[in-house]
């Protein structure tokens, strides 16, 4: 399998001396659905900006499908579609024009791009709005417009920076379904998101950035297998007793009807429920207090911070 994106020793220091990237290495295989996670200011958008040609790097090397960015910058731009985090279109331009112009910048004629624009706008449920100016769209529609624009030149690699921020649940799920479909068809997708369940449900491989450094790069499966404990919330319709005996698990009474339980690797939910039943605690509803990936993410980023301090 060919490497879709290879980043070696990438550094970026801004003019105000902020060190956004501290020599990061990353590798994304062709056809992968890859998550790039990190908190605010971790360096995700900077890394993406450099790969897409929006920012100058300070040092390091970027290769896309075997092409070196230093010598094949424009060839690389043909292979990548970017959906950025911030809205970056002319707000007074009609949305169909935005797509056709983007295709034009890639050397695709207006007549050829019109058909592709129609397919994408229909898929993004924006076809009826094609003559409206971008300013008149809702936040979610603007995001879908940017996704359509990123795909207008049919790139091999799609980079999505917070693609579903501000998008309602229904549309978010339809975007996920579409992304899964184009990934199945062979498109490499690199995703940054704050919704960790989005990364968990879509991505096969993952890298976590923290303060400009890669703190973890592995497969999603391997990473999730590192989860040593899980926090769940048990809810009851009857009042919980004041004292609950902890037998192989930790628990905390949140209020009269809910209980927070920390499950270790040596105890499962059935054992906990049986144990509580013995104490006459009836559980009517179980839910996860924290996404599994979220638990790991916080653990890894906090661990690095405490090591540094």
């Amino acid at each position: 399998m060919q490497v879709a994106l290879s980043i070696q020793g990438l550094q970026k220091t801004y003019a105000n001396n902020t060190e956004a990237l501290k020599s990061i290495n990353l590798q994304v295989d062709e056809g992968d659905f890859f998550a790039l996670l990190g908190g605010n200011g971790a360096g995700k958008t900077t890394a993406i900006g450099i790969v897409c040609g929006l920012l100058n790097k300070t040092a390091g090397n970027v290769c896309v499908l075997g092409l070196d960015q230093d010598t094949h910058g424009n060839d690389i731009k043909r292979l990548i579609g970017l959906m950025p985090q911030e809205f970056n279109f002319d707000p007074f331009e009609p949305i169909e024009e935005i797509l056709i112009n983007q295709a034009g910048y890639h050397g695709i004629s207006r007549s050829a791009s019109r058909a592709q624009a129609e397919i994408l706008l229909k898929r993004m449920q924006l076809w009826d709005k094609r003559f409206d100016i971008a300013k008149s769209l809702s936040g979610g529609m603007k995001r879908r417009l940017m996704l359509a624009r990123a795909l207008i030149h049919q790139p091999k690699i799609l980079i999505l920076d917070e693609p579903t921020a501000g998008v309602d649940v229904k549309i978010r799920h339809s975007i996920w379904a579409y992304l899964k479909e184009i990934n199945r068809d062979g498109m490499t997708i690199i995703l940054t998101t704050h919704y960790l369940e989005e990364a968990e449900s879509l991505c096969r491989n993952i890298a976590i950035l923290n303060e400009g450094e890669v703190v973890e790069q592995t497969s999603m499966k391997k990473l999730l297998s590192k989860v040593t404990h899980q926090i769940i919330i048990l809810e009851s319709t009857s009042t919980l007793p004041e004292y609950i005996k902890e037998d192989g698990f930790e628990c905390e009474r949140l209020d009269d009807y809910s209980l927070q339980v920390v499950l270790g690797s040596d105890i499962n939910i059935t054992d906990v429920l049986q144990n509580l039943a013995k104490q006459n605690v009836s559980v009517d509803h179980v839910r996860s207090a924290q996404n599994r990936l979220e638990t790991l993410f916080l653990h890894l980023t906090q661990k690095q911070q405490s090591e540094q301090s």
């Binding site: 920012l55 100058n56 424009n74 970056n88 935005i98 910048y105 890639h106």
Partner: protein, 252 residues
Amino acid sequence: MWIAYKTIITKEVLRFSRIWVQTIFPPIITTSLYLLIFGGLMGERIGQMQGIDYLQYIIPGIILMTVITNSYSNTVMSFFLAKFNHSIEEVLVSPVPYWVILLGYISGGVVRGFVVGVCVFITVSLFVKVEIDSIWITLITFLLTAILFSLAGFINAIFAKSFDDVTIVPTFVLMPMTYLGGMFYSIDILPQFWQDVSKFNPIYYMVDSFRLGFFGVSSSDFLTSVSVLVVITFALAIIAFYLLKRGVSIKT
């Protein structure tokens, strides 16, 4: 590359056409006022300049002033807004060579300069009988002027960080240069010292050549004027290309 260039210039032309009330209409009003006040009311008292009636004498200057202002403001505003709303990223993530980006924006400025220049010319023709002595000298001067000031506007937009930065140069640099470049008078009437100073102002060469195109009279040699304008245009083109390629205030 041709399609990318066509896309940029089409977008530019559509942009200023959409807002024609702000871009094309005001110069027509301003021109009419200039003709009425400077030409009509004051012109009769001034009489002739370089052997030409003052009302006619100021016409090339008025047309060229609108070309300068519109070419400059088109590129400075368009590129600054593209930076401001980040839509410049649409071009930067695409495989468009930097020289094509520059050429696209400059062409937009030249087209607006031409459109507004023609509109002003038509307006002027309603007031005064205008004849052009040499269409080629007029067109060459127009083209060099529009390219030069589009490039200057582009460089201004690269460095501009706020809307104030976009308006400072036209108000405090461009306007004085325009008025002191012999727009409404021949520099021959100035004392020798100020004549020499005027020769450092590129607008003097533009107006002088443009007037040569209209009336066949000028204060300096056409070849000298064109050489000065070509050298300045070339220098500005190199600076603009270098700044764009380096991504100054765009990719840093």
